[in-house]
Symmetry: C2
Subunit: 197 residues, 2 copies
């Protein structure tokens, strides 16, 4: 069974792509990040809520503030990456809904009036968008190194002091360096992950 997506694209995005643990010094430009964003922004979210926010950690000072909240090897790894992105949920994403989802102009004040409901939906949809963003990094010919080993409460205090954004993932981005990849780990077989009823 062959896919509609060509084999080179399959390799680029999934089959040969791997999480990178080291990077070269080659910079990742804002233009590259914009090209990634302008592709993956089209990935679907519920009511087009588009709750993901991306904070590019560019200055040395910001990088040092970020790695204070890293666990274990994630600190040195992050210091060595040409670009690091903090992915967060905009807990006030509903403010944009009248523009983003004009078909239902009142959901900002109905479905999403409550902060708790926004946090649940916003986190789920920002996480879907994080999946698209990782695919987009690879689409740009770059490697991603996504990390959850951070004290995200600390990251939020450090970068999002107004309490309106909640970080959930940090991604190193760049060209893979020396010994960038661990051996590919096994995946679950189709029959282990997929069942029919």
């Amino acid at each position: 069974m062959s896919l509609a997506l060509d084999a080179a694209a399959q390799d680029l995005l999934f089959r040969e792509a791997q999480t990178a643990n080291t990077f070269t010094d080659e910079p990742v430009t804002d233009e590259q990040v914009q090209a990634i964003y302008d592709l993956v922004k089209f990935g679907p979210t519920a009511f087009n809520q588009s709750s993901l926010r991306i904070t590019l950690v560019r200055s040395q000072e910001a990088r040092e503030r970020l790695v204070q909240h890293a666990m274990g090897a994630n600190g040195p790894k992050t210091l060595s990456a040409p670009l690091t992105a903090i992915l967060s949920v905009d807990l006030d994403f509903h403010e944009h809904l009248p523009r983003l989802f004009p078909a239902l102009p009142d959901i900002k004040d109905t479905f999403f009036a409550e902060a708790a409901a926004r946090e649940v939906a916003g986190t789920q949809n920002a996480t879907l968008q994080a999946g698209y963003f990782i695919v987009g990094i690879r689409a740009a010919g770059l490697a991603a190194g996504p990390m959850t080993g951070f004290d995200f409460t600390g990251v939020d205090k450090e970068f999002f002091g107004d309490g309106k954004q909640k970080s959930f993932l940090v991604i190193n981005i760049g060209k893979p360096g020396a010994d960038a990849f661990f051996p590919r780990s096994p995946r679950l077989g189709f029959d282990e992950a997929v069942t029919s009823v």
Copy 2:
């Protein structure tokens, strides 16, 4: 700024792909789903935990049980799709970790010993995998119709009575039918979603 991914693949996966609301009768085979799975299983998760489970709703009886828990238009939409998948988190994903992440053979009994920690990490990573799966459906030349408008507690009781799986997304899958697409909604601009520090 151009991406490494060719333009046809960009269109197939993101630029021209849209959430489908109607479908043709053309069946979606297990072989197609396996081809999708065998591509997107390589998408990264923390410690390769691979917590996503996919339940293909194939029988008429199962389809009717599912739509009882659908909200609004999601019921009729789901009845009209050639294939519907329930996406869930395996709350016992840690049982597979000694095989999936042999580099750290003890994390099954350390990091992931507590059910609450598994639920948080498992949900986040299964949601990332849901993003890859939506991209994979499009890679197969099919359209996805992801829906969160279900009573997932009811879906869990109906399909996962043992409490070991927690559903979070339902996706209709097939070839788009007549009037399948709403007009593309606007997306946030780069400067609205991405900031530099």
